[in-house]
């Protein structure tokens, strides 16, 4: 079965639950006291989709979003971006729109965008209506789901939807893809062929 590595970058305000979503997806666990992301800024999980294996290489922001200093290199080569907001914080939804704009400027042209309204278990404190968010997501052709990393709601779905939207292996794209990874063995960097 063909293995495809897909880089996914996480975006969104500090504290909306980016890392929790990845923890739930990768580890199926939840830690309410998770520290602002230090150290664990890269995780992988392999999922089968149809007759392919999708290995998600999930990059976390390493905290560089805290003062809006995310480097463009963070988006390079991403197949998908998961932009997270907190349904109990209107502000976080407003800045989501800035992240979308940022991505249009610096992200790869055909990046798949998924919007995750996290903390949907706290619907009592909801500030962002599901319909508004959904309408906005549709207007930018993004995947939209409300999630709860805490209660494991819709987390896998985000990534399944991403798998569905990833274009089938582009036959033409392979020719120019020969890049050199330093310090790694040659064979590894060419995994995606055949």
């Amino acid at each position: 079965m063909a293995l495809r590595e897909l880089k996914v970058c996480l975006l969104g305000d500090t504290g909306v639950g980016k890392t929790s979503i990845v923890w739930r997806f990768v580890e199926d666990s939840f830690d309410p006291n998770i520290n602002p992301t230090i150290g664990a800024s890269f995780m992988t999980k392999t999922v089968q989709y149809q007759n392919e294996l999708h290995k998600f290489l999930i990059w976390d922001t390493a905290g560089q979003e805290r003062f809006r200093a995310l480097a463009p290199m963070y988006y390079r080569g991403s197949a998908a971006a998961v932009i997270v907001y907190d349904i109990t914080k209107e502000d976080s939804f407003q800045t989501l729109k800035n992240w979308v704009k940022e991505l249009r400027q610096h992200g790869p042209p055909n990046i798949v965008v998924a919007i995750a309204g996290n903390k949907c278990d706290l619907s009592d404190a909801r500030e962002v209506s599901e319909k508004d968010a959904k309408d906005y997501a549709e207007s930018i052709h993004a995947i939209f789901v409300e999630t709860s990393a805490k209660n494991a709601i819709n987390i896998n779905e985000v990534f399944t939807e991403i798998s569905k939207r990833i274009p089938v292996v582009d036959a033409a794209g392979g020719s120019s893809a020969k890049s050199i990874k330093l310090g790694r063995q040659v064979s590894e960097s060419r995994k995606t062929c055949c």
Binding site: F42, M43, T46, M73, T95, Q185
Partner: protein, 617 residues
């Protein structure tokens, strides 16, 4: 987003995100120092930055408008007894000068039946010598494209649509589509245009550092595929590897044998003939009975030195070149995908992963110095917050007038061209070429030219991005435009011919960072100054500087030790996670296949010799 307050205490505060500063940041965070890394600008990498086409136009505009005047606020209320202030300035004040933009691409999309008469339309609009008016135009055009972009967000695929009406209109006619200015703007984000032009020697200190620290994981590279030299008005390929030498058609059998013998003996590092210790390398080469051809290659393209360079230095450069050969491909050079601006960002990410805090558009207004100890105790940031620190690292530009008092400013001349074809067309459109142009023929100082193709992700498909650099004699335009007119097709070009057309070009001068710094000029002993980019092709200067600064800050710590794994913890779906952090780090290392084991990988590369297994497929 509400502006969060910064913590008020750090070990190291770093101002400026150029290469040396970023390496220091990564190195300090890596060994557990609390690092605050700031840049006044809205982008990373200072004068090492790369820009999309549109962002470059904005940058040009900002440079031409000059910096915003800053109100000198009075911070003395934040001072305690025995403290005084050192004010910092805006780094953009004078590092970039003599900007000149010449756009030759037609404003609108147009279909041209053949290449022969393309220049006419461009000619008529070229008279705008005043860069000011052109700037307005480009600014307007930029707005338009921003609108276009906004509407595009609604469409699925912003790239593929309207740009190729020709495809449907006349598939039978072999037409070449001339790329318009509008297209450059529209595809603007496919460009990553570096302010500096350098390459990485495969065995240079930057490559070693990237591998050692595992920062290499954040980026990928392309091999420079060929080395060219300009001679008697023509471009020739320089044979440098064994394979090249044997395949070369320009060299006679005798020359081939001589060259191989010379290269082999050079690499063995035999004692240099003492007779040449005071003689230039060019004389040494002359006496090796190599012939004029080979001497030219060796002096200008392999050693890349001048006629007067001493023999010892010339031999060292030649060896450096030869040693780097074959590690990753057919030439000794690598170029980062998406441009050189990625490299400082990669080190910044490493710093962030280990807890470094990053703010852009955020500066330091002044330093608070303890008068008795002559040490910087704290800084006051641009928002008036007092932040204490044990060390302060700063890009020299922020010291402004302090640096230019004593040292005369030396400049680099730069030209950046977007062209429509390669200077030396070949079977493959995806060549990355390093071109050396010796002084004399068309330019006063030696020019280094790097031509990048679209697979380096620095320019849109169908174009090439050409960087020219030399030590300046006059302005960048005076130094380089004659060469550009000769090697490329511009409306100024006298003779027609199948040369690449220049669609757009930018000339500017940049301060040369190799000028001895301001270190020790009355600055507190714990203030460390990093210089900007200099004119050499490699990165040795900045990496050495970063290492020295790190050793001064932390004399007992290792510089960028092999990270267990840069991302620390890599959990794989299948395996349960060990609870202890240490364990998980180890495990992650093993799971990462051999990726973590650099030595092994290194040896494998080594055994590849100059056979370049990487690129052979």
């Amino acid at each position: 987003m509400a502006a969060e307050d910064l913590p008020s205490e750090f070990d190291v505060v770093i101002l400026g995100t150029g290469l040396a500063e970023s390496v220091v940041a990564a190195a300090c965070s890596r060994v557990g120092q609390r690092v605050l890394h700031l840049d006044r600008r809205s982008y990373y990498a200072a004068n090492w930055a790369s820009f999309t086409f549109n962002a470059l136009l904005t940058w040009i505009q900002e440079q031409q408008e000059g910096p915003q005047p800053e109100q000198g606020k009075d911070w003395s209320s934040l001072l305690n007894d025995g403290e005084e202030l050192i004010h910092l300035s805006n780094p953009d004040l004078d590092s970039i000068t003599n900007i000149q933009v010449l756009s030759y691409a037609s404003e609108e999309d147009e279909e041209v039946p053949d290449t022969a008469k393309e220049e006419t339309s461009a000619n008529s609009q070229l008279e705008a010598e005043s860069t000011g008016s052109r700037e307005e135009e480009s600014a307007e055009a930029e707005e338009e494209s921003a609108e276009a972009e906004a509407t595009n967000t609604k469409g699925e695929e912003p790239e593929v649509d309207q740009s190729h009406p020709g495809a449907s209109s006349g598939p039978s006619e072999p037409t070449r589509k001339k790329i318009s200015y509008a297209q450059l703007l529209k595809e603007g984000r496919r460009f990553n245009i570096d302010l500096v032009s350098k390459l990485l020697f495969s065995r240079g200190s930057l490559v070693d550092l990237l591998i050692r620290s595992n920062v290499s994981r954040y980026t990928e590279f392309k091999n420079v595929t060929r080395i060219l030299t300009y001679r008697h008005g023509n471009l020739q390929q320089v044979p440098c590897s064994r394979a090249d030498v044997f395949a070369s058609r320009q060299l006679s059998v005798v020359e081939k044998r001589k060259l191989m013998r010379f290269l082999t003996s050079c690499i063995e590092e035999t004692e240099m003939d003492q007779a040449y210790s005071s003689q230039p390398y060019s004389k040494y080469l002359q006496d090796q009975q190599l012939g004029e051809n080979l001497q030219h290659f060796l002096l200008h393209s392999i050693a890349m030195v001048t006629e007067d360079t001493p023999t010892e230095a010339g031999l060292a450069s030649t060896r450096h070149f030869l040693r780097s050969l074959g590690r990753y491909g057919n030439s000794p050079f690598l170029f980062p995908v998406y441009g050189l601006g990625e490299i400082p960002q990669c080190f910044c990410r490493m710093s962030a992963v280990f807890g470094g805090i990053y703010c852009l558009r955020h500066s330091v207004s002044c330093l608070i110095v303890d008068k008795d100890a002559n040490r910087c105790k704290a800084v006051i940031d641009s928002r008036g917050q007092r932040i204490s620190c044990s060390h302060f690292v700063v890009e020299d530009g922020y010291l402004g007038s302090r640096s230019s008092v004593t040292t005369p400013t030396r400049l680099l001349s730069r030209a950046i061209l977007i062209t429509d074809s390669s200077v030396l067309p070949s079977d493959s459109e995806q060549q990355v070429s390093m071109v050396t142009i010796p002084p004399g023929e068309v330019c006063q100082s030696a020019v280094k030219m790097v031509e990048l193709c679209s697979s380096t992700m620095t320019c849109m498909p169908g174009t090439y991005l050409v960087h020219l650099t030399c030590q300046s004699v006059g302005s960048a335009f005076e130094d380089l435009s004659q060469l550009v007119t000769k090697m490329f097709q511009t409306p100024e070009s006298q003779e027609p011919g199948g040369r690449p057309s220049v669609l757009w070009s930018l000339y500017f001068n940049m301060a040369d960072g190799s000028v001895p710094g301001v270190e020790g000029q009355g600055l507190p002993s714990n203030v460390h100054v990093c210089s900007g980019p200099e004119g050499s092709l490699d990165h040795e200067h900045s990496i050495k500087q970063a290492e020295l600064i790190f050793q001064r800050i932390l004399p007992d710590e290792e510089f960028c030790p092999p990270a267990p794994n840069p991302e620390d913890i890599i959990y794989d779906g299948e395996s349960p996670t060990p609870s202890a952090e240490e364990d998980s780090v180890k495990e992650a290392g093993q799971q990462e296949e051999s990726g973590g084991d650099l030595k092994e990988a290194g040896q494998q590369e080594e055994s590849g010799g100059d056979l370049n297994p990487q690129l052979d497929q």
